[in-house]
Structures are given as structure tokens and as C-alpha cells.
Amino acid sequence: MEKRVTFKGWLLPLLLIAPQVLVSAVFFFYPAGQAVWQSLFIQDPFGLSMQYVGLGNFEYLLSDPYYRASFLTTGLFSILVTLVSMIPALFLAVVADRLIKGAGAYRTMLIWPYAVAPAIAGVLWLFMFNTRVGVVSWYLGNLGYDWNHVLNGSEAMGLVVISSAWGRISYNFLFFFAALQSVPKSIIEAAAIDGARFWKRFWTIVLPLLSPTTFFLLVVNLVYAFFETFGVIHTITAGGPQQSTTILVYKVFSDGFVGQDLGSSAAQSVILLFVVGALTVFQFKFVERRVHY
């Protein structure tokens, strides 16, 4: 027999939902509406004059090669961050799963990076790779490699990816570890008894059973890489060199706050809205199909 909550009247549930709806309206829908409205105008920073340009801002954006490039940059960046944060996490979780003693201590040390705010993580990694005083860049210099992320776009991207992914390794590790622990031991033992070695067990049994977790982490990490990495990029490269680390979200800030061009910034937000919508649809339609529940 299913236990369900049923409400006799309609007023109580309405009141219960009201705070959520109110918060959403004030903090999400209203600013979103404002963004759509502002994207149709060119205005001066002080808001003293507004010129209606219809889709002019969107035309201006889409004809800017740097804006188009930032789509690619964002895509590359998000994929790299997701890979760099999920694969080591899965690896560490699998290794930790094979240990009983000491797993607690390892887990504690692995959680600490997650507690570091992204912007601070950015400063930490910048400090290590600083072209002058950084520990890592100094030892690299001794080995003959001249690290300079200020001028080299690929190095800048690498640094920004590692800084963003580092804290997420902990987060992903926790989820993977918990998911691994919940894999029924009986299945593993049965496969081992039947002669399956570790890798075969991993690919054919463990990984498919992990797929709900993997899918969830994929979505969460992509959202993180898209929207919450602004602090890291701002601290380390400010979008440079030559905009090679300017992701879409960073450009919104850069044009809106630094450039005081609110029309263009609002138009970018609207475009991002559609991008996220499309991504969400894609994820749930195609990727979720492969998840085994």
C-alpha cells in the first residue's frame, strides 16, 4: 500500500508553496525579465538615456568573432573541467573502496579542497604557478620548461582548468565513493568466483551500476564549469591572454561591469539562457537514456 500525502483543501498547500514562488519571482523571474528588456536597448551607464535597437545588440554580438570564439572556449573549458575533476575522483574512489583501514583518513584529507572557495582556489594555484615566485613554475624552470601563462594561451587554459577542477575532485570523490559502497557485494563476489578479473568486473558491472551517479555528476559539473567558475578565471587570467580563457559567463561580466555596456551584457545573458535550455534538453533526452537505474 502506498503512503501518500493528500490535502483536503487547496489553501494550505498554496501557502506552503508561496515562499518558494515568491523567492523565485523576486530573485529569478524579475531580473530575467529585466535582462530581456535591457537587451533590446543601448543605454549609457548611468541610465540617463536609452536607445531602442531591437535585435541590434544580438546582431552586434553574433558578428563579433571574439564572441563566437568564446562559445568554443566555454565548450572546451567545460569538457576539460568535467573530465579533469571526474576521472581522478573515480580513480581515487575505486582505490579507496578497496581499503578498509585508513579510508577514513584519506577521505578527510580529500575533502579539504572542496571547502576552499573557488576564487581562493584560483589564488592558490596562481601562487603556485606565478611566473616569478611560484614553486611549480620555478621547478619547471629548473627542468628547462619556461612556464608563462601570462602570454601562452594553452598554459593559461590549463591553469584555469586545474584550478576549477581541483575542488570538484573532492565533491565527485564523495559521490563516487558512496555509490561504490552501495554496489551489492554479492554481485562482485559472484563475478569474482566465476573468474572475472578486476578490469572486466569494473567495466561490465561496476561502471553501469554507477551510471546514475555518473550522470548526476556530469550534469552538476557541467553547470559548475559553465556558471560558477567566474571567480577562478577572474583571479587568475581575467579572461586573457587574448581572451583565450574568456568563457561566456566571464564575457557577460566583462562587458557589463568593466565595459559598462549593459545592452550587450543583457543580450549575452539572454543567449546563455537559450544555451542552457538546449543543453538541459539534450542531456535529459540523449544522455539519460544510457543510464541504468
Binding site: 543601448i42 549609457d44 548611468f46 601570462v150 568593466v258
Partner: protein
């Protein structure tokens, strides 16, 4: 539920706090200074408040230059703007175009009844912030100009005579070669590359940076940084970068750390670097005038200022404007200006303060501190060396920085990079023009 009311209490107490500060007429002053400069500003404000009891100036630090400007703009849109806002020189066009948001300083000071003589202010310093009619729109607060810093010990270590004449880039070129051959890892480093090697470069050689008198004469201005002189200079620098004679460290003042630690022999940077260099450098150093290319344009003309000015914002009461006027007049007074100049290395804004400093023997005791003043005032400014008044200029500087980085990395030639700057920067100028019609 109990915890939510704690939150509500916290919110309401913050809303009520401004009421507690009401006493005399208050003048809000927002600025971008921290550290020692912040302390010096705080002292100035305290001195003013102590000298009279009609007005109280409240100073608050809002972040760096960009953040302070944004805070001011956001505050204006929310009708919470301060009376006095510090805006860096890059934001001048934005402030000037916003006629309903600011009140010209000459009006405020004249109306406040204090003694105000526009001619008392040094022409090259106030020119940036003066309208084409000759009226001061904002008060220059901290103005500096680029000079050449020389690490004498590094020169000697590389076997080069520290007294070599470095007044022309031709001579600097030879010296860089000698330094590199003598084993120097960092012959030349720079700060604020766009400001020094493009903006000031153009003014110093009397070549235009943008049309319409660098934007002074109209909003329909276009960039002209791909002129012969600029390309030649950037080609030379690109060559030096390739040969390891010029080390690029960053767009802002990252190079300062390299120079102060003794790594580098030559450093092009603001005269206001004096404070940091004097306290941190463990080597003997010189201050020399910025080099110029002999035979190019009208060199040496005069250099332009960088730094910030104080703007008065609209939307306040008359007595608050009187207070603002009194405070600005206090800041312009000779004693305050002379002390500020001597403590920080920023230029004095009045001729009187400059003369007072000279008379006190400061320049003899602190050799090199007069270089910046002379460099700026030796010749009367031309249409190309009054400064820049370009909209969206913070963004345009970003574009310039990117393209310069492409030159240093060897990805683009100077011609390609500057053509790209013109191509990318002009649409921004057009958007600014359209937004401020």
C-alpha cells in the same frame, strides 16, 4: 521560524544603521585607495573635519578604480550616490557624457564661496579634466606620469656604466644590448603598457592617438594608433621581447615586483612608483625622464597624466554641495598638496604647491622626484598631448593589452596588432556615441 526572525532582525538593523550617523552636514567621499595611500587620504579627511565644524566628510574605500566607478554608477541608478566620487582617468569620457549625473567642479567650487582660481592649477595636470571652454569639470586628485627607473647596481653587475645617457630610445636600444651581453636576465620591464607605450608615447611624440583631438572635440572620434611612429616603436619593443631584452610581466603593475626585487635593470613606470621603490629597493636607483625616439614627430613634447580625479555628483542638497566645495578647496590648498606630493610621488596640482616644494629643498634631498614635474610642464600641451577623452576606454585598453600581448608572444606583427585594435575599438566608440546621443 525563530531562526528566520533572527535573520529578519539582522536585515532590519542594517537598514536602520545610516540614521545613527546623522550629525552635521555629511559629505560622502568614495575612493579607491588602500594601504598607505588609504591612510594618507584618511588623514586628509580627518584634518578637514577637525578644521571646521559645519561639514563632516565620510570617506569609504570601494575597491580598485574600476570597482569604485561601478559602485558610483550603481549607486546613482539606485539614487544613493555619494557627493564626491573618485574616477580614474580612463572613465573621464563616461563621466563627462553623463551630464545629468555630475555637476562640474568649477560650478561647485565657485558656488561654495571659497577662493577658486582655475589658473592656479597646472595646465598639463588639469587639461585632461577640462572642457573645451576651459572650465574644470573634475578636480585632479592623484596625477602621475611615466618615467624611467634605473637600477644602478644591476647596471654595474652587467658591466654597463649606470650614467649612460638614456634620454633617447636609440640609446636605450644600445644599452639593452649591452646589458643582455653582460648577463642581465631582465634588461627592461614595464608597467601599464598601454598607458606608457601607446597613450603617453603618442602624446610625447606629438602624434595623434585618436581623431578629433584625441576625442576632446567630439564623440565621433576614431582610433589612430596604427600610425607610423607607434608601429615603429612597437616593432622595436617586439624585437626586444623576442631577444629577451624586454620581459613582459603583465598588463598592470606586475613588473613593479620584478624591479623592486632587483631583478631588472630598467623599468618604465609611473612616477608614483616612488613610494614603493624607495621603501623596498635594496639597490641604488635613479629616476630619469621617459626616453623618446630622436627625430620622430615633435619629440620630446610632454607626457600625459594617469591617475584619478574627483567628481561631484548630482542629486544632492545645496549645503552638501557647499561642504563638497569646501573640502575640494581644502585638498587644493598648498600645504595639503605639497605634503601629498612629497609623500606619494604624485604630481602637485597647483603651481603654488610645486613652488613651495621646490623652495623647501625637497627636490635636492630626494633626487629624481622633480623629473616628472619637469617632463610634464616644460612645454605647453598640443592638441595631441592634452590627454584622451574616449568612451568605453577601459574596454579599449583591454583590447590594446590583448593585441600588445600578441606582439610580445610573437603571434602578430605590430602593424597587424594595431590595425586590429582600430578595427575592434572603433565599434565600441560608435556604441558609446550612440548611447550618449
Amino acid at each position: 521560524m525563530k531562526k528566520m526572525s533572527v535573520g529578519a532582525l539582522a536585515v532590519s538593523s542594517t537598514l536602520l544603521s545610516p540614521l545613527a550617523a546623522y550629525a552635521e552636514t555629511e559629505v560622502q567621499f568614495w575612493h579607491a585607495f588602500t594601504g598607505r595611500l588609504g591612510e594618507l587620504v584618511a588623514t586628509q579627511v580627518e584634518d578637514f573635519n577637525a578644521s571646521q565644524n559645519q561639514y563632516t566628510v565620510v570617506q569609504s574605500h570601494k575597491g580598485n578604480y574600476s570597482e569604485t566607478l561601478n559602485a558610483g554608477i550603481a549607486a546613482f541608478r539606485a539614487s544613493e550616490q555619494p557627493q564626491i566620487l573618485m574616477v580614474f582617468e580612463v572613465g573621464t569620457a563616461t563621466m563627462m557624457a553623463a551630464k545629468g549625473a555630475t555637476r562640474p567642479v568649477h560650478e561647485v567650487m565657485a558656488a561654495s564661496g571659497t577662493k577658486f582660481d582655475q589658473d592656479a592649477y597646472i595646465g598639463a595636470v588639469k587639461g585632461y579634466y577640462t572642457s573645451t571652454d576651459g572650465d574644470m569639470l573634475s578636480l585632479p586628485f592623484n596625477a602621475s606620469t611615466p618615467v624611467l627607473w634605473v637600477n644602478r647596481d644591476a647596471f654595474e653587475a652587467a658591466g654597463v656604466d649606470p650614467d649612460t645617457d638614456l634620454s633617447t630610445w636609440q640609446n636605450v636600444d644600445k644599452t639593452l644590448t649591452a646589458l643582455k651581453a653582460g648577463g642581465s636576465d631582465c634588461p627592461l620591464v614595464t608597467a601599464w603598457q598601454s598607458w606608457i607605450h601607446l597613450e603617453n608615447f603618442s602624446a610625447y611624440h606629438d602624434v595623434p592617438f585618436a581623431s578629433k583631438d584625441n576625442g576632446f572635440a567630439g564623440l565621433d572620434t576614431e582610433l589612430q594608433v596604427n600610425g607610423e611612429a607607434q608601429i615603429a616603436h612597437l616593432n622595436a619593443m617586439g624585437q626586444w621581447a623576442e631577444e629577451g631584452k624586454f620581459i613582459y610581466t603583465g598588463r598592470r603593475n606586475e613588473g613593479g615586483a620584478n624591479f623592486r626585487s632587483g631583478e631588472c635593470a630598467l623599468f618604465t613606470e609611473s612616477s608614483a612608483g616612488y613610494a614603493g621603490i624607495k621603501s623596498e629597493a635594496k639597490f641604488a636607483f635613479d629616476v630619469r625622464p621617459l626616453p623618446y625616439w630622436e627625430g620622430v614627430g615633435n619629440a620630446p613634447q610632454n607626457t600625459i597624466i594617469g591617475g584619478a580625479s574627483l567628481w561631484v555628483m548630482e542629486g544632492h542638497e545645496e549645503d552638501e554641495y557647499k561642504g563638497a566645495g569646501e573640502f575640494l578647496s581644502f585638498l587644493s590648498s598648498s600645504d595639503v598638496q605639497a605634503k601629498w606630493h612629497q609623500d606619494t610621488g604624485y604630481l602637485p596640482i597647483t603651481a603654488e604647491a610645486s613652488a613651495a616644494t621646490k623652495a623647501s629643498g625637497f627636490y635636492e634631498e630626494n633626487v629624481g622626484t622633480e623629473v616628472a614635474v619637469i617632463q610634464m610642464t616644460a612645454k605647453a600641451p598640443t592638441a595631441n598631448s592634452n590627454g584622451l577623452r574616449l568612451g568605453s576606454f577601459d574596454q579599449i585598453r583591454g583590447i590594446i593589452d590583448e593585441e600588445l600581448e600578441a606582439i610580445w608572444a610573437g603571434d602578430k606583427s605590430a602593424q597587424e596588432a594595431m590595425d586590429s585594435v582600430v578595427e575592434r575599438g572603433n565599434p565600441l566608440l560608435r556604441r558609446f556615441e550612440q548611447a550618449n546621443r
